[in-house]
């Protein structure tokens, strides 16, 4: 451990302390607050799209239920579990960083990257299925593969509006995936920095903040999964 004293404001001498902060604690508080404000913005960003989803789902319920039933609940459930596992490994990485365990920090960060990649891989399989069945909104959209509550093909009106469901499906899951595609390189940089010994129990704020971002991405999926995959045919 370092020779820093327990009582004196020893942290003031920490190399990671920027000159405009009085203490490591104040610096960390400012950083995490900044991240929380960013996350607040993200909540409203996704919230706007979820609001559009809510309104259209109420206007065209049958179209949404038919579209949702085409999704693979098994793959969706596996992906939810994978993402929750990646949140756990991220939390354990932050935990290891807070205790100054360099090897464990790197290991858990790499595990998080691996699980995040598995999620994106499964997402690619799901997207490929939509392209294969012409369920991507646009000139080649075709709802013939969709089935209503009665197991029959959809009436023209319902078939037409099912395109709105898939437009929201691709925007919501696409934006979510984009957040993960941005997050994975950031975690990789953290693993690199951790390996080079840049963090200590006195200073691991970047790992902590990366964790906040990753957990937020997990939360978005926690809502997207039931809203997109599990719309019942009945009311």
């Amino acid at each position: 451990m370092s020779s820093l004293s327990e009582t004196a404001p020893a942290a003031a001498h920490h190399p990671a302390l920027r000159h405009h902060f009085e203490s490591m604690e104040g610096q960390k508080e400012a950083s995490t607050f900044g991240m929380w404000v960013f996350i607040a913005q993200e909540i409203l960003f996704f919230g706007g799209m979820l609001l559009a989803y809510t309104i259209y789902r109420n206007l065209y319920y049958d179209s949404f239920a038919a579209g949702s039933h085409h999704l693979d609940v098994k793959l969706g459930t596996i992906n939810t579990a994978v993402l929750i596992c990646s949140s756990l490994t991220m939390a354990l990485a932050v935990h290891a960083a807070a205790l100054g365990r360099r090897g464990a920090t790197v290991l858990f960060l790499l595990l998080t990257i691996a699980l995040g990649s598995v999620f994106l891989g499964i997402k690619v399989v799901e997207y490929a299925d939509k392209f294969h069945h012409h369920l991507v909104p646009g000139p080649y959209y075709d709802a013939e593969v969709l089935r209503g509550a009665d197991g029959k093909a959809l009436p023209p009106e319902v078939a037409l509006h099912s395109q709105i469901y898939f437009a929201l499906y691709f925007s919501l899951t696409g934006l979510h995936a984009l957040h993960m595609i941005i997050g994975i390189p950031i975690i990789a940089v953290m693993a690199w920095l951790a390996r080079r010994g840049r963090f200590s129990p006195e200073y691991y704020t970047p790992v902590e903040i990366t964790g906040l971002y990753w957990h937020f991405v997990d939360i978005v999926w926690i809502f997207l999964f039931p809203l997109l995959y599990l719309i019942p045919h009945h009311g």
């Binding site: 604690e25 929380w36 919230g47 579990a81 949140s87 939390a91 902590e208 939360i219």
Partner: protein, 119 residues
């Protein structure tokens, strides 16, 4: 020092005064993880049950519970300064405002028989 942090499962909520954050016990993370997995299973099972108009409220209640567990424990909000709580509270406040305000518009259009702007 590392030992102190490791065994300190219940230190004070606002840091210990020299730049250290709160260190949550690993067992807490594992418990939250199990709860999140159980919640996922419950969501899937509940979606196959015919709960009438309650399917969506039940799904959202489970999702909110899961999200709260992530926010309070994985994201350490429980142990964070009140300033972080203000940021989260503001986001929730404006989100509820946005949804309630616009939903009220749509519902009242149906009620007043003005037709839906989306149709």
């Amino acid at each position: 020092m590392a030992e102190h942090a490791e065994t300190g499962a219940h230190p004070p909520a606002h840091g210990d005064g020299h730049g250290r954050g709160h260190v949550v016990a690993v067992s807490t993370y594992l418990l939250v993880f199990v709860a999140l997995m159980v919640g996922t299973g419950l969501t899937v099972l509940a979606s196959y049950a015919d709960l009438g108009m309650w399917n969506t409220p039940v799904a959202m209640a489970i999702a909110l519970t899961k999200a709260s567990l992530v926010v309070f424990f994985f994201m350490h909000l429980k142990y964070s300064p009140k300033l972080s709580w203000v940021a989260v509270g503001a986001a929730v406040f404006w989100l509820v405002n946005m949804i309630a305000g616009i939903a009220a518009d749509y519902v009242s259009r149906v009620y007043l028989n003005l037709g839906n702007p989306g149709t």
